[in-house]
Amino acid sequence: MGGSDTRGAWHADGELLAAYHDQQLDAAARWSVEAHLTSCAACRRQAGALVDPARLRRLREALIDAVDLPRAGVAERLLVRLGVAGHTARLLAATPALRGSWMLAVTAVLAFAVLAGWTHPGQDANLAFLCVAPLLPLAGIAAAYGPGVDPTYEIGLAAPLGSFRLLLLRAAAVLGTATLLAAAASLALPQLGPGVAGWLLPSLGLTASSLALATTIAPLRAIGITAGAWILAVAVTVLPPAPSSVLFAVAGQVAFAALALLAAAVLLVRRGRFESDRGFDTTPRFAARRLR
């Protein structure tokens, strides 16, 4: 099957190379041809001529692409598996709220709140949890979006993907994660019953309000004010001798549902405000991310 040239060296002939190219050879013959090709430029040229250049280019690009492929974290892979488009998953994965460390911190806070209920049993055993849970999505959004926080905020503003869309995507990711974790944690509360879901509507109401407020003032300030208002409301309504808070009673829940709807409407109407920097300082402020 091989041939000799004038110097007596062995060369693969056209027929053999064609069979190799068409993957018609058995394993032993294939290896021997490959071993020869690595050391013989003439046969490499001949074998190379058989290969379709377009296919070769495609393979090369696929190879380079595979090498460059950004490393996807657990959350990103999960999102893709859940049917989220690859590029959307990438945008979301850059949100700190989808990092393992963040979820761990949220879980720890929730666990402490649950624990507080178990160590101080009584009528208000669930109260610490109900008060803390609505603050978590606010903290997540504070860390995920806005001038000074998102390192690519300014570049993002100049990009066609609307800043409002990015905000909604991230808020949804943050709210979704925090809600899932809080829902799971609430099953461990000392007093099970419909009351364990009392944090859900305040959580929605506060998140929507902070975003609506962010159409007027800087996002971080909006979140600070909303969180402050919640803490104040909790402090005022929970003060002894009240064993629980009106915030988690029917009246409070209805109020938060209404607040969430109202804030969502304001957000929708004023969404255009997110499309420019509005004079806010966009300098990335956090040392770890501030690379110049």
Binding site: A85, I155, R278, R292
Partner: protein, 290 residues
């Protein structure tokens, strides 16, 4: 010589932050090629660039870029698809590699098809000479390389309008030279507006110069015309001339004076820097002395 049609028209632009009038009645045209924007700190350069990059919305006046009005939502999005912007202080996700960062911006630029997007990311990284280090984390790159990463993201999608805020700041002379080569190549057939503190950058690169001072446009013309402003206002002397607006000792040991020369002074051929300093007058001299 025929002047090409302007690609960017700015009319009577005004923007106020708090009590500061950052831009005050700025009117200018940009044509294809490189335009250098000069001005001291706080002149409004970054504000002007941000308005052109659609990041800031002006209080008054109008902008038309590539035939589009960024004041209208639909046209603003179209414009964003055709412009590249390099901010003065680009932030990076430090964990990202150069490739991941530019890929992330490419997603913001709505390049959704993964294979094509990655090809484009590789193209722009090659263009700025970072093809070989694209897999390195940004925090491991030098300052000059990071600026090139920031430039690379601005080049995604081959934009018709490039807005670069101090692209050469903090670069050593060799890096600056490479940046200049790259930017002058980019200026062929595109509209490039870059701000800088370096008059040498403008001399080396720009076909047009703008000078902004205290929110107002003080000059628009060619580098030669800016230098020409100082014709008859630059002279040699053995000692610093007390009547000069600015004076400094040069390598020859003589003093170079700018201002209104005394009678019989030995006049010198003005440079662009002379014209710039003369234009800004006393304020700039004080700043230089500080």
């Amino acid at each position: 010589m025929t002047t090409p049609d302007p690609t960017v028209r700015v009319r009577d632009l005004g923007i106020t932050f708090g009590r500061t009038r950052a831009l005050d009645g700025v009117t200018l045209d940009l044509v294809p090629g490189v335009t250098g924007l000069l001005g001291p700190n706080g002149a409004g350069k970054t504000t002007l660039l941000r308005v052109l990059a659609t990041v800031s919305a002006p209080d008054s006046g109008s902008v038309q870029a590539l035939g589009l009005d960024p004041g209208r939502t639909d046209q603003r999005l179209d414009l964003r698809g055709r412009l590249g912007y390099m901010p003065q202080e680009p932030g990076f996700h430090a964990r990202f590699t150069a490739f991941e960062f530019v890929d992330y911006v490419a997603i913001l630029k709505e390049l959704h098809q993964r294979r094509a997007r990655h090809q484009e990311v590789r193209r722009v990284l090659e263009l700025v000479g970072l093809g070989a280090v694209r897999g390195k984390q940004i925090k491991a790159l030098s300052g000059g390389m990071r600026r090139r990463v920031a430039l690379a993201q601005a080049l995604l999608g081959d934009p018709d309008l490039l807005v670069l805020d101090e692209p050469t700041a903090g670069l050593d002379p060799e890096q600056r030279l490479r940046f200049r080569e790259l930017i002058s190549r980019l200026g062929e057939g595109r509209t490039v507006l870059l701000s800088t503190h370096q008059t040498e950058d403008v001399v080396a690169l720009a076909q047009q110069v703008l000078v902004l001072h205290l929110g107002r446009l003080r000059f628009a013309g060619t580098p030669l015309e800016l230098a020409g402003l100082a014709r008859g206002h630059v002279w040699h002397s053995q000692e610093r001339d007390p009547g000069a607006l600015a004076a400094w000792r040069t390598g020859t040991g003589q003093h170079r004076n700018i201002g209104d020369p005394p009678a019989g002074a030995e006049l010198l051929e003005p440079t662009l820097e002379d014209g710039y300093l003369l234009l800004l007058g006393g304020d700039q001299v004080e700043e230089a002395a500080a």
